[in-house]
């Protein structure tokens, strides 16, 4: 079997004396689609934020495409270039137009010239189906459109891996689908992705594996069918009964 794209080995993370991650072991291979779920405060976001070093893990090892994440700025930069991230609150740069939001990293980080960066930006704006919004500011867009721009912005760096941190949690219900559709398209095209989400429909239809976390630990890891129909752990059963009952 080929080397995994993401390897987390015995990873611990502390915030002060609070242990947010406990002995996390995870391997993700190229093209895999992982959904991470669990109650709030279970460490889901912290886990994926360790993958691109937005959080620094305290113990254990993390390898991204064979490169170990250490304090070395060079390694961190190299990993971040290959790992895209989509946030719950979009985090578009409010003082830049949509187009400039998309062009910024290709120009500064990938050193593309302006016309090449623009070409890349327009390509991905078309892919998320809002090329007509290119010259607007983020505040002029709906939440769903903003999140699609944020996905396009991450794609402009042609990442190997995309991390989604509750991408639909801040959206009005009628806008959730337009974002999920884009994510499903990406999944079908073979993008390696890890999604922290409560969208169980999405998990069922696209995930190769569902990971359930509670209290900083990976409690259960299974295929969606197994996970939803035959959960093993009591905490998983309780969680599923709570979110699927209404």
């Amino acid at each position: 079997m080929t080397q995994p794209l993401i390897q987390m080995q015995n990873v611990d993370k502390f915030f002060g004396s609070f242990q947010a991650l406990k002995n996390i072991n995870l391997e993700v291979h190229k093209g895999e689609r992982i959904v991470v779920c669990g109650p709030s405060g279970s460490g889901k976001s912290t886990m994926i934020r360790c993958i691109n070093r937005l959080e620094k893990h305290n113990n254990g090892k993390i390898f991204i495409a064979g490169r170990e994440l250490t304090d070395s700025e060079k390694d961190i930069d190299a990993v971040r270039r290959e790992v895209g991230m989509v946030f719950q609150s979009f985090n578009l740069f409010p003082h830049m137009t949509v187009l400039r939001n998309l062009m910024l990293a290709p120009q500064l980080v990938r050193k593309n010239n302006k016309s090449k960066a623009k070409e890349i930006a327009m390509k991905y704006l078309e892919r998320v189906k809002i090329p007509d919004q290119a010259n607007k500011y983020p505040s002029q867009l709906s939440g769903g459109q903003q999140q699609r721009v944020a996905i396009a912005r991450a794609l402009c760096m042609s990442p190997e891996i995309l991390l989604f941190d509750e991408p639909t949690s801040a959206l009005d219900p009628e806008m959730i689908n337009e974002v999920l559709e884009v994510m499903e398209d990406l999944a079908n095209e073979g993008m390696t992705m890890i999604c922290v989400t409560h969208e169980m429909g999405f998990a069922r239809s696209v995930a190769d594996r569902v990971i359930f976390m509670d209290l900083g630990e990976i409690v259960e890891e299974a295929s969606p069918q197994e996970f939803f129909e035959n959960p093993k752990n009591e905490r998983t059963k309780l969680f599923l009964s709570q979110i699927l009952s209404h």
Binding site: N52, R53, L54, D77, R80, R81, V83, G84, M85, F87, S89, N91, L92, F93, P94, H95, M96, L104, A105, L108, V109, Y137, P138, S139, Q140, A150, R153, A154, M157
Partner: protein
């Protein structure tokens, strides 16, 4: 009590002849102070104590003492030291104008650096995380994300400081500078008519304040153009 209109009309042009000096004090110390504030800000933002601590002490001293005392120490106190009189700064510190500029610059620099720091810290952390996640370096995040947003956030408190600086320039008259305030004091000494003179002077300062406010208002609108629908 009578209010002598003709005295006001007579003294207005005299006071206004000091306008140039008032503006020189305001603009020179404003620009130099902004530059100083930026240096102090960068010193404080580094996580190295040997940069950040001196900046903190400097800011504490200049915010913690009256500006009039600072002007007097620089004008009356510094020339007593031989080392100062032989230093390259003597041509500046020998002149009352130079002393006033130095005092106002150091004072406004201390205040403005705190304004800038507040604005930098107020920039949404999520945006900087988004920048990090895209692979932008620390410097690139500061230049392309933090700075433009912090400038926008810092305008209202900064305009406050510029207005305050305008009025602080009047203190330069205490060290023989004939700005508008210095001229007004001379006229009052000759005419014994403090009401007429000082009230008209107050109105002149208020008019300038009005234009400064307006100017910053336009600047703020320009910098906020992205949040308009």
């Amino acid at each position: 009590m009578s209010f002598d209109i003709s005295l006001i009309l007579d003294s207005l042009p005299k006071m206004l002849s000091g306008i140039g000096l008032t503006f020189q004090l305001l603009i020179l110390s404003g620009v130099l102070g902004l530059f100083l504030a930026f240096v102090l800000l960068l010193m404080r933002l580094t996580e190295k104590w040997y940069f950040s601590l001196p900046a903190q002490v400097f800011i504490y001293v200049f915010r913690g003492t009256p500006i009039l005392v600072q002007i007097f120490i620089i004008y009356y106190g510094l020339p007593q030291f031989e080392a100062i009189r032989e230093s390259i700064f003597w041509p500046i510190l020998r002149e009352p104008f130079g002393c006033a500029i130095v005092a106002l610059t150091l004072n406004t620099g201390a205040y403005v650096s705190e304004i800038l720091r507040g604005a930098v810290l107020a920039v949404d952390r999520g945006l900087l995380e988004a920048g990090s996640a895209l692979g932008l370096s620390r410097n690139q995040r500061f230049i392309y994300i933090t700075s433009p947003l912090a400038i926008r956030l810092g305008i209202p408190p900064y305009s406050n400081d510029v207005i305050s600086l305008l009025k602080s320039t009047a203190l330069a008259s205490t060290i023989t500078i004939f700005d508008m305030m210095g001229i007004a004091r001379t006229i009052v000494a000759e005419t014994y008519a403090p009401y007429e003179i000082f009230i008209s002077l107050a109105i002149i300062y208020m008019i300038f304040t009005f234009f400064i406010q307006k100017g910053f208002g336009y600047f703020e609108n320009f910098m906020s153009r992205h949040v308009k629908k």
